[in-house]
Amino acid sequence: MEKRVTFSSWTIGILFAVPQLLLIFTFFYWPAGQAVYWSLTLQQPWGGGNIWVGLDNFRSILANADYWNSITASLVFAGISTGLAMFIALVLAALTDRQLAGSRLYRVVLIWPYGIAAPALALAFRFILAPEAGFLSVINRMWPGIWDPGLDGADAMASIIVAFSWKYVGYNFIFFMAAFQAIPRSLIEAAAMDGSGVIRRFWDIQFPLITPTIFFLLVINITESFQDSFGIVDIMTSGGPANSTNLMVYKIYSDGFKGLDYSGAAAQSIILMMLIIVLTIFQFRFIERRVHYG
């Protein structure tokens, strides 16, 4: 879509774009380029120049079992938490769309998690899921040692998945709710008069019409599970126990800023960027084909 009527003085036009361009050059393109450059050199932590090493940084990272462990952990985390957050939100949104008494109240409350900072949520869940106090402590009283995110890697992973999914249920719910509301009521009523039941109407009418939203949220959720998880991991598990929750973004942070391995962290950033880009393209190519755009 283009404007027919525009202004002719194009120097003014460019001037309007300058603040944005300066910002993204300084804080986006330059650092992104720098990351590529650093990943190909060996950077001395406290200055002192850098040596060109080509792909050596990538080789040593990919030869490291810790790194593969971090990739696996990220994929498990992304897969399960995205699945949970999308499924629960979809069910809740579909049900609030059936205009029953109280639907409005549910809609209002189900949006709240959107406003909670991941770290604040993480601290709340750290308490709720703590083994010695909180709510799961009751289980530990009955079967001692059955739940301990501080010692058991699987428990730790489950904790961060619960916290992350909880936040994204709220986020996804908003979009699903809007998508359901956008479906013309008359369409559903007509189908109902033709005698199709609630479940049939959902699969034949509503579900196909919200597939663009499902697709959009899938891309967002997966991308965010690789990035937005940082605060949750830092507060709840700090990557432990025994690296079981050392997700990729957390490893970049701890290798780069605690280990002062800038080159290694830069190479990891590049791999993470590539992974996100590949996943996004993959989703566009293979999943979007099944999406019905109305």
């Binding site: 879509m1 404007k3 027919r4 009527v5 525009t6 202004f7 002719s8 194009w10 003014i12 036009g13 001037l15 309007f16 774009a17 944005q20 361009l21 993204i24 804080f27 393109y29 330059w30 992104a32 720098q34 629960i88 069910v91 049900l95 109280g102 639907s103 189900l110 949006i111 709240w112 998690p113 959107y114 406003g115 900072a117 770290p119 604040a120 949520l121 601290l123 709340a124 010695e132 106090a133 909180g134 709510f135 249920v169 908003i174 979009f175 709710m177 008069m193 609630v198 990035q227 605060g231 507060i235 973004v249 970049i252 942070y253 962290a265 830069a266 950033s269 960027m273 996100i276 996004t280």
Partner: protein
């Protein structure tokens, strides 16, 4: 709905109620835990009846984590990011939509690409840039030989340096440098009828006049939605403030939460931790509750 489905209605209410409890439970737990004393909060199982120490705990958390100044910092940074996004996005979208100049599509794509790679994955080099925000320009001068030339001609050695660690601009500017709002405005500007532009041009208004007197008043709704969403987003930032504020004077509320985690082996002061969590989660929650309608509209608009 058209037909009567008592069984299904019951089922719907049941699941929605479970969902409701699921959503509200963490808030309730935080509030109740924040009202207990040290002994009660560590009870197994913890009592779900509120205790009487709520205000004492709030005060202790407030003082322990020094939350007053930190909340103020959060407000400054989140407000700064929201304002920056609202203004800069509007300017850029205006430029892209209302002017025809060479390289316009190139600029469009330059901005579009920034949506792909968030701050978290460029965190290490962005940190280096903020440590000296003029380093990119210094490097350009060095590489192109300009700094050599300047030194030869004027005798002045060029060494540009401006550190933004532990400063509000350092906290705000990198967060503003993404294109999130630009496309929201672009979509909106495209729906503004051409007749308006024509009319104001006939009245002799230049682009600046048109932008300020016609376009901006029309986009009030967009500004409210974008401002709200960006405020929440910036308030909830964690990794970036954690990195660049080594000095407590610029720390944000969210990063202070880590100080409240009871350490292993120490006294598990979960009641204080939960009181602090409540204080930190309250402002954005209030924003969500007050601006609910705008957020929903804004999010729907960004999707398209």
């Amino acid at each position: 709905m058209v037909e009567r489905t008592p069984f299904l209605n019951f089922f719907t209410h049941l699941i929605l109620f479970v969902g409701f409890v699921f959503c509200i439970a963490p808030f309730v737990v935080v509030v109740i835990a924040a009202s207990h004393n040290l002994r009660d909060v560590n009870d197994v199982p913890m009592s779900l009846l509120p205790g009487s120490d709520f205000w004492v705990n709030i005060k202790t958390a407030w003082v322990t984590a020094d939350l007053g100044p930190k909340l103020l910092n959060s407000f400054i940074v989140a407000g700064g990011v929201a304002a920056g996004k609202v203004i800069i996005s509007a300017l850029t979208a205006f430029s892209i939509v209302y002017f025809r100049f060479p390289g316009r599509m190139f600029i469009f794509w330059l901005i579009f690409v920034t949506l792909m790679l968030p701050l978290e994955v460029r965190i290490v080099p962005t940190y280096a840039v903020v440590a000296n925000v003029l380093s990119p320009y210094q490097t350009i001068l060095d590489v192109t030989g300009l700094s050599w030339l300047i030194e030869k001609v004027s005798g002045v050695q060029v060494s540009l340096s401006l550190g933004l660690l532990n400063s509000y601009p350092g906290l705000i500017l990198p967060l503003v440098a993404t294109a999130t709002g630009t496309f929201l405005y672009r979509q909106f500007f495209l729906t503004v009828p051409d007749e308006l532009t024509e009319a104001s041009r006939m009245d002799g208004a230049g682009p600046l006049r048109f932008f300020i007197d016609v376009l901006l008043p029309l986009s009030r709704n967009n500004m409210a939605a974008l401002g709200t969403i960006m405020f929440l987003w910036a308030w909830n930032q964690y990794l970036w403030p954690l990195l660049i504020t080594t000095d407590q004077s610029h720390a944000m509320a969210v990063t202070e939460l880590k100080q409240l985690i009871p350490n292993v082996g120490g006294t598990p002061e979960w009641h204080i931790a939960m009181a602090g969590t409540l204080i930190v989660m309250l402002p954005p929650l209030l924003v969500v509750v007050l601006m609910q309608r705008w957020i929903v509209r804004g999010l729907i608009a960004t999707e398209k």
